[in-house]
Amino acid sequence: MTDPLLPAWSEPFVGARRDALRHLPPFGALDRAWAIGGSDGSGITVAIIDSGVEREHPAVGGKLVRSVKVELAADPEDDPVVLDDDDGLDVVGHGTACAGIIHAIAPGADLVSVRVLGPDNRGKGIVFAAGLDWAIEQGARVMNLSLSSKSDALFGLFHDLADRAYFANALLVCAANNVPGNSYPSLFASVISVAAHDLEDPAAWFYNPSPPVEFGAHGVDVSVAWRGGSRMTATGNSFAAPHIAGYAALIRAKHPDATPFEVKAILAATATPPPA
């Protein structure tokens, strides 16, 4: 799109615009064999903050180790409650799609589902924040967030959570939201914000040196797991983020001392070079 009002976050990663992404990291390009070679994500827990994950779906490979759901407390003054969600269901299919993408890239990683989209539409931003808070407390090293809040009232809360995740050594991987205006935490500096590129290659990811959306990953016509053990072809930034979450899990498993900003730097330095 050429409309300057439209935050077309995918635009730098699509077609001829990709050529402009040439960028030389100050320490030179790193080798993917060094960054992720031999890693399957073992020892890393990835939290999927979404609509739930279908535990029995073949694409999840039995790696869903825990499912919780977050709900508003009966008294609105109280914090939302986090409950075990033993059914292991996904009423939409979207969380299962994200889990399947991550598992395909990092089959050794443990997956935790944090269901924040429920039937109660009140206070959904608060519920989302509480789910993120819980995942940080649980020590998840990578979190996939294919959703965000636009509520200005929650700016401070999400900013605090993004900082706490960073200081707790947890990496937030967020899908960029292609609607105008603010979007938290996907547009904060400490997170990895991802939009879709239009190549049919799940192993291709691009680094964009112009924030806020720094990474582009496979997000067009992605074959994804869906509810009821099915599969579907889907397009959206939602499906680009879990690709980066999967590669981040591989890096974190192989380089356990790397901190969130170092993981981001390794992802940037091992990004697919734009065509010469």
Partner: protein, 283 residues
């Protein structure tokens, strides 16, 4: 929900009853206004989905709006040969693709929908049409999410592209602006609360009274508004017919006015007869 009696202990039962009746009346009027305004906003929304069908060369396009009182997404307008079956369809905000797009605020597109037999069947049972591909984008601004725009089956392609998602987003923004401008989302409860807040703001707070009063007002408003949106109320089909009549041409309007006159006169005569019968035994 707080017990209505708890915060209202200091008031007389007669006050509570009168206040509740007044609130219910306000809520009812606001709900009627909301539905009438929806009629005018719907014309804009309908033209947007028609434009979307034409631009995307799609089989159908529709807009579902969120109704907070009943916590459902309701398809209000649709265009395209295969679109009409969806009008009036209600879905919970946490179910299906449209529910996901609404609750997450994330735009997405899916293809090969028919490969998920459950998806196809549930969709077809409700709308008599199973699409191959869908793009769905939220109607969202900084004040919240109002609903979802979806476009089904681009004729020229098997699936929707990133650019299609962004174009659909442009239509969604137009729809959001149109709805906000007509204030169709006006929330009755918020309106009533703000009025009561303004009325009671000047009162001197007694010991612990402010919070108790606030809780009492909340409970009273909730209790008074509980039946306002009742979908079985026979008033709503009438209101929706009146809303539809606003789109009538000048000649039709004249005819409708004459017809309504006849009906009103008949209703008045009927009421007179009933009142007469009631009076007869006493008189």
């Amino acid at each position: 929900m707080t017990d209505p009696g708890e915060g209202a202990r200091h008031r007389s039962p007669a006050f509570d009853r009168d206040a509740r009746a007044a609130l219910a009346a306000i809520g009812r009027r606001a709900e009627v206004a909301r539905r009438l305004e929806l009629g005018s906003a719907e014309a804009v929304l309908r033209s947007l989905v028609e434009a979307a069908v034409a631009l995307f060369e799609a089989e159908a396009a529709s807009i579902a709006l969120y109704e907070p009182a009943r916590n459902v997404l309701v398809f209000r307008v649709a265009a395209g040969e295969h679109g009409q079956g969806v009008i009036g369809l209600e879905i919970p905000p946490d179910r299906g693709l449209v529910g996901y797009v609404f609750s997450s605020g994330q735009a997405l597109a899916i293809a090969d929908v028919r490969t998920d037999p459950r998806f196809g069947r549930s969709f077809a049972e409700q709308t008599q049409y199973v699409p191959r591909s869908i793009v769905a984008v939220p109607l969202v601004d900084e004040r919240g999410t109002l609903g979802v725009l979806e476009v089904l089956d681009k004729r020229s392609e098997a699936s929707f592209s990133l650019r299609d998602i962004e174009l659909a987003g442009v239509f969604a923004r137009q729809a959001t602006v149109a709805i906000r401008a007509s204030r169709v989302e006006r929330d009755t409860a918020t309106l009533v609360r703000s009025v009561i807040g303004a009325l009671t703001a000047g009162e001197a707070p007694d010991a612990g009274g402010v919070e108790a009063r606030a809780a009492g007002v909340e409970a009273l408003v909730a209790a008074a508004l509980v039946d306002v949106g009742d979908p079985d109320d026979p008033l709503w089909p009438l209101v929706e017919q009146v809303a539809a009549l606003r789109r009538a041409g000048p000649e039709q309007r004249e005819l409708l006015g004459a017809l309504l006159d006849v009906l009103v006169r008949q209703a008045e005569r009927g009421r007179g007869r009933r009142t007469g019968r009631l009076r007869a035994p006493g008189g």
